[in-house]
Symmetry: C2
Subunit: 429 residues, 2 copies
């Protein structure tokens, strides 16, 4: 079996060849992938059945959750969506070889800042078997090589999809097939994290624990988000209908998503008008509510929140509510306990909104909109690599652009620095 | 003495307050810093004398190099340049609160991508005492908090400049003075590397060993460059006059700079026309030359290069020369042995130039220009944080923009995702 080191070396070589891929060739490759996936639907579904059989045993033994089992399942619809996802990428703008900026820095000297791929990207993801096709597609479109590590539960599905993608790429003349690679075990991941000479970026898409483990064990830059602890602050100038709609949507529209709300902060001056209505509405939607000491003393049918609650990502129909004195208090709570993901103020007061949106140090700061909008497709990026709570490189929903960096191309005519330092020549202003 | 933990906490608080700083207030603060540095010139020069006295002992004992000693010295001219540097920053464009992109994602919903500061940045630099003023200035202009650790040799100079900057900032009403912080020991640096909850970016400006140590010992993203192993490839279609000028400038204009050239690759087809002229020119400029086996067999007055030479940053008037068969060979050599810093092709052939500039995977790829142009000021950025060989966040010379990231601001009117997933509403194309 090929070692991770050899795979990484090949991936790096392929990433250099990929620097010259035209949009035309890349789109041709993508269509070839979509076509071969289409032709091999049955093979894929059969492989998925094998995975599901194994997973069923784990489910029965209690070592796999029902939701993980559900995510693993690939049916005709999901497969069709997966293939359509590959085709849709063809229509997106090529993110590389774009001139981002250009300047004549001196007479006869042109400097161009040009977007280019990052190089080799390691992506570690969970059981969902459509991710392998999605990430491969984005890698091809952005001219990056990837080394993929999927969830072990999906191993048969991943293997077959991987081999179909490689076969499809082989059919495109001179295409650097080693752009797409698959590794299998935790030991492989461990080995990958040491290869900072070959791998330029790691994207972990998984649990908080996974992301922390990776950040602690590699010199390679890591792009990802740990927690998604999102807040809604109900300002004293909030419209009650917006409060009810946004709170329910932010919690219930998809409770296990990272952009669903954890904590609702409510301004003390509007408790009388808002709190009971909100409780009723949440309860109608089967949301369990935990509240701070004060609210607990005036409520029934709620639990009392503990210190841990303010820093917990629930991932289910559970929300905590806390009273705050002002927008400043709300900002301070969010900057202390939040994870810098997505936070919303509900208010009709523009000044409070701007204050909140300036001082809350999060990737997404919203006025009167559900936190669930934090998503690359909803933002109009056409594709999403993931959501980042990093404060370098890329933040928030990351589209194809997040898989690029730039280089500076300088076109001269024999120019030397000495002429400038001796004052013979001058840089343009 | 305040612990690094407390300093980092205060810096984080200050960084939140800094989110609201207007360009006007920041520029006022910068002018106040320049003014107070001006008024305290003598104090600074006296402190520098103390450092120089201590450094002289180290120099005599052989524990400090002459060049490090020279860099430590602050004279009237350097001090004037340093203060002018602070003033010049006032005229640069404010890099934060710029709307980078905006879109109405659906009717009544506006999404804005707005530049903002990174937060808290740790900067570790060597003995040059003007760096503390330069980095503080850039931090103020970009609304970031910084924790600075200077070279121990410059401790007295750094302390006095630091206290003057803090005093100047205190005179500006409500200015978050804790944006600028100084720490002192290696233990402090070690402690800082653990504080990933408070510090968002580390910029090491120092030796290769320092950068590697830092990358291996922190979860915090690191921006910097390890080696600066730069190449010039002399193509078979090179103009000889350009060859001689560019090679000499790239090596001799400032040999200890990271953007000076290490290895010259020469196309085999033009050895007869070029090689001896180049050797003569380099020798006239006191450059020691090491050459590959073949060239060694046909030359005199040169040394034979060893395997190590192709991956060594010389930092002095020393250059290695190697024969290559083609532009492809040159590209492969550079991508194998280079450090992704700055590499140049000398040619009159546009096709070879484009090939070189596409496939060489470096921050700067030049056609017919000295590698010494790789510099933020020469690129017209007005300021330079450093040069990055990272392939994420910022690459090449990094100006103020490299100290920023962005957030997404979404302005809605009570909008919920459920309306879109049920098909009641649609996103704009």
């Amino acid at each position: 079996m090929t070692s991770v080191y050899d795979i990484a070396k090949r991936a790096k070589n392929a990433s250099i060849k990929a620097l010259k891929l035209s949009s035309y060739v890349k789109n041709k490759a993508l269509l070839s992938v979509a076509d071969l996936l289409e032709k091999n639907k049955d093979k894929i579904l059969n492989a998925n059945k094998l995975d599901l059989e194994n997973a069923k045993e784990m489910l029965d033994a209690g070592s796999l959750s029902q939701s993980a089992f559900n995510r693993l399942k690939l049916d005709e619809n999901k497969l069709r969506d997966m293939i359509q996802g590959v085709k849709d990428t063809v229509n997106l703008e090529d993110p590389v070889n774009k001139i981002l900026w250009a300047k004549d820095i001196a007479e006869g000297m042109t400097l161009k800042k040009v977007s280019c791929p990052i190089g080799v990207i390691g992506v570690i993801f969970e059981a969902r078997p459509d991710v392998i096709s999605q990430i491969s597609t984005l890698a091809i479109k952005s001219s990056n090589a990837v080394i993929l590590k999927g969830g072990t539960e999906a191993i048969e599905t991943n293997k077959i999809i991987f081999s179909i993608i490689r076969e499809a790429l082989s059919s495109v003349e001179n295409f650097p097939v080693d752009m797409i690679n698959l590794i299998f075990s935790r030991e492989d991941v461990k080995a990958m994290l040491d290869l900072d000479n070959y791998i330029n970026l790691i994207i972990p898409r998984g649990s908080n624990a996974l992301v922390k483990y990776i950040k602690s064990n590699t010199k390679i830059p890591v792009l990802g988000h740990a927690d998604g602890i999102c807040h809604i602050y109900i300002d004293e100038y909030a419209d009650i209908q917006k409060v009810l709609n946004i709170c329910v949507d932010s919690k219930c529209q998809y409770p296990s998503a990272c952009n669903s709300v954890e904590t609702i902060l409510i301004n003390k001056n509007i408790i009388d008008d808002t709190y009971q209505l909100l409780l009723d509405k949440l309860s109608q939607n089967d949301v369990i509510v935990k509240v701070d000491k004060f609210l607990y003393s005036i409520s029934s049918n709620v639990q009392e929140a503990q210190a841990e609650d303010w820093k917990t990502e629930y991932g289910e129909k559970l929300v905590s509510i806390k009273v705050v004195n002002s927008v400043d208090d709300a900002i301070e709570h969010i900057n202390t306990f939040g994870s810098g993901h997505t936070d919303c103020i509900i208010t009709e007061n523009q000044e409070n909104a701007e204050k909140f949106m300036t001082y809350v140090d999060s990737a997404g700061v919203y006025m009167n909109a559900s936190t669930r909008f934090a998503d690359g497709f909803r933002y109009g990026f056409g594709a999403e690599v993931g959501i980042s709570t990093n404060k370098t490189h890329a933040r928030g929903p990351v589209g194809l652009e997040g898989l690029t960096i730039y280089k500076y191309k300088l076109y001269g005519n024999g120019d030397i620095v000495d002429d400038f330092s001796t004052g013979k020549r001058h840089f343009n202003k």
